[in-house]
């Protein structure tokens, strides 16, 4: 138009005429256009429900029916409307972390929470749920997903706030899960969310990063405790059997001694009785013989000094001359005079000088030596 400003009036007339012609064409076609539109509109009522889905039909806004999987027809919008909801699918929500490209990214604001004993714990949770009531899910609560996430936080924090940190980190995990699940389901029902919690999994219940080392140190300390106790038990296992062995050794030794003592006594007695029997037959001869034999054995081994009878009476009282030995009282006065005389020194420590006088030995002399010869 700006190209040909001088021919404008002619152009307008021409255009009107062309428009009329065109309108005439459309005018003849419009019933078909409308019919096609109506048909398309009616055809828009065909809908399909996939397996595991439930379709909720609204007629003039009001819920009037449901249908399961299959191909259906409804009156077109706005008379009837259909919403389909998958009621089988297990959905999943993450609290305290988000999975991004297969990686877990922590959300500290959600994950850190207070325990009953005013400690802070890092808890991460997965909730699995599905839609149990499509009507409620569609029409009763605005944004059920948001409600689920927020309610999970409420429930988890409530559960964690009821237990001390040690319990949460160790034995109380399943309890926290259980309490969270019950509380969460109660909240979801209160909110008419139409959601059913199928599982609550406490992924992580850890001490926060800032204190992790200290907690690991506790674990190490506990292991040290176990180690010390095990070492002590090993020590016990080491010494007790040894002690029992030693005890058995002592006992067996004593038993052996008892037997030995008895048997040796019996042996000694048998010998004595045998000799006694012979002795009784001829007392004097046997006695002299035994005596002489013994003396013979003794004197054949010892160093002997023979003194004449008169000399002997002067020397004998001073024997034995071992230090500290008893000196007969009648010789005490004479002792000083003979001090300068050389004493017969014992050849060896065990040697002794004994007058050959009969002595009275006790009964309990050492027994073993009797069988020496």
């Amino acid at each position: 138009m700006s190209r040909r400003p001088s021919m404008e009036p002619l152009d307008v007339e021409e255009q009107i005429r062309e428009a009329r012609e065109r309108l005439g064409t459309v005018g003849r076609l419009w019933p078909f256009v409308i019919a096609a539109g109506v048909l398309l509109w009616l055809a828009s009522g065909i809908y399909m429900v996939q397996p595991a889905e439930v379709a909720v039909i609204r007629t003039f806004g009001q819920e009037t029916g449901r249908s399961g999987p299959g191909l259906y027809y409804r009156l077109p919008a706005p008379i009837q409307l259909v919403d389909t909801v998958n009621v089988e699918q297990i959905r999943r929500a993450e609290i305290g972390f988000r999975t991004q490209d297969g990686k877990m990214v922590r959300v500290p604001a959600e994950a850190l929470m207070l325990t009953r004993d005013e400690n802070i714990v890092d808890a991460q949770l997965i909730v699995q749920y599905r839609v149990k009531d499509p009507s409620q899910y569609l029409f009763r609560l605005r944004d059920p997903q948001e409600a689920l996430a927020a309610s999970t936080e409420v429930a988890l924090r409530s559960a964690v706030g009821r237990a001390p940190i040690d319990e949460i980190l160790t034995t109380g995990r399943s309890q926290v899960q259980g309490m969270t699940r019950i509380f969460l389901q109660a909240l979801l029902d209160t909110y008419e969310s139409g959601l059913q919690v199928t599982d609550v999994k406490l992924q992580v219940a850890d001490p926060p990063e800032q204190v992790k080392d200290a907690f690991q140190e506790v674990v190490r300390a506990r292991e040290d405790r176990e180690r010390l106790m095990n070492e002590a038990r090993a020590y016990r296992e080491d010494i007790l059997p040894k002690a029992r062995g030693q005890a058995q050794e002592t006992l067996r030794g004593a038993e052996a001694y008892k037997e030995q003592r008895t048997l040796e006594a019996q042996g000694d007695v048998s010998r004595f009785v045998a000799v006694l029997r012979e002795y009784k037959k001829s007392k004097d001869v046997t006695r002299d013989r035994l005596h002489l034999e013994a003396i013979e054995r003794i004197l054949s081994r010892s160093n002997n000094i023979v003194l004449d009878g008169q000399g002997a009476s002067g020397v004998m009282p001073f024997l034995p001359l071992r230090d500290g030995a008893a000196i007969p009282p009648q010789a005490a006065a004479a002792q000083a005079a003979t001090q300068s005389a050389p004493r017969p020194a014992p050849a060896q420590p065990s040697a002794s000088t004994v007058p050959l006088a009969p002595s009275k030995p006790g009964v309990s002399a050492t027994p073993a030596a009797q069988s020496r010869r």
């Binding site: 400690n119 802070i120 106790m229 001694y257 008895t262 002795y279 002997a312 040697a351 030596a369």
Partner: protein, 293 residues
């Protein structure tokens, strides 16, 4: 069909469509509506379905019928024991009286502002009456319930029903967290020390027990051994006594001889007098005195 008739049908159709649009309105499952007549209130439609109104004269205002969330921003509060705690309240509510709602708060954003105020003040009051430890533990639900009750009372004036008020988070302020972490580290340090000392304690106990047991085992063995040895000595003594009693004098004699042999070792110095019985034959071939040496 003439061009004029066609145009008339078209116009009528459009007019009819507009009229139906104006006269008929649908209240959805999710919605509720109030009908006003040039500003004046006519009625409330809370049940879903199709409704009629006077076209152009009546107008319809829709409100949500579902439960709505109101996530109030976290605020810091003081507990009864003057500790600071950050609470993040979350309120669920719905409009039960759309007309009252409309004339008092007008729309959702108006309602949110009012609810925030109510929730925060109720929360502050209730937390101020409770010790810190109970805020996070025992009384958490109690506080939430009484806040819910208080907010519900006030909110009913706005045509709002409060489903509940919950505390999404009840945390320490960030600057207090650091001191909590420090305390946790210190506490863990104590626990570590205790475990180690306990280990030493238990270890010492076990060792001492074991040693005690060992000593007892050995002592018991000693006791039995001594008894056995005593038995042996006693029975030997009995056997000796019985035999030797037959002739004590002869026993003394023979035992003495044995003793001499043992006592007088090799190279003992023995001084003998020629007066002695043993050597009497050294001096003379005739017997002198008695037989005894």
């Amino acid at each position: 069909m003439s061009r004029a008739a066609g145009t008339t049908v078209l116009v009528l159709l459009i007019a009819g469509f507009v009229l139906i649009q104006e006269a008929l309105y649908i209240v959805d499952e999710r919605n509720q509506a109030i009908v006003t007549q040039v500003g004046a209130f006519i009625r409330v439609d809370q049940n879903p379905g199709p409704y009629l109104k006077i076209p152009f004269y009546h107008s319809v205002i829709y409100f949500d019928r579902r439960i709505i969330v109101n996530d109030t921003a976290p605020t810091e509060n003081l507990t009864l024991d003057k500790k600071r705690i950050v609470v993040d309240p979350i309120t669920r509510w719905r409009i039960i009286d759309p007309f009252t709602f409309y004339i008092t708060v007008r729309d959702e954003s108006g309602a949110r502002a009012r609810l925030d105020d109510l929730v925060l003040s109720a929360m502050r009051d209730e937390i101020g009456k409770t010790d810190f430890v109970n805020v996070i533990n025992r009384d958490r639900e109690v506080i939430e319930e009484s806040v819910t009750r208080r907010v519900a009372e006030r909110a009913s004036a706005f045509g709002i029903q409060i489903i509940d008020v919950r505390s999404k988070r009840a945390d320490l302020p960030p600057e207090v967290q650091a001191s909590v972490f420090a305390r946790m580290v210190a506490e863990r340090g104590q626990v570590s020390k205790r475990y180690r000392s306990e280990g030493e304690e238990e270890s010492a106990k076990i060792r001492a027990d074991a040693e005690k047991e060992r000593t007892i085992i050995l002592a018991r063995a000693y006791e039995q051994a001594q008894r056995l040895r005593g038995d042996g000595d006693a029975s030997a003594a009995g056997i000796y006594a019985e035999a030797f009693d037959q002739d004590p004098e002869f026993y003394a004699f023979i035992r003495s001889l044995q003793a001499y042999e043992r006592v007088l070792g090799d190279r003992s110095m023995i001084v003998l007098s020629t007066d002695s019985d043993l050597l009497r034959y050294l001096r003379s071939a005739r017997p002198t005195n008695g037989r005894t040496p």
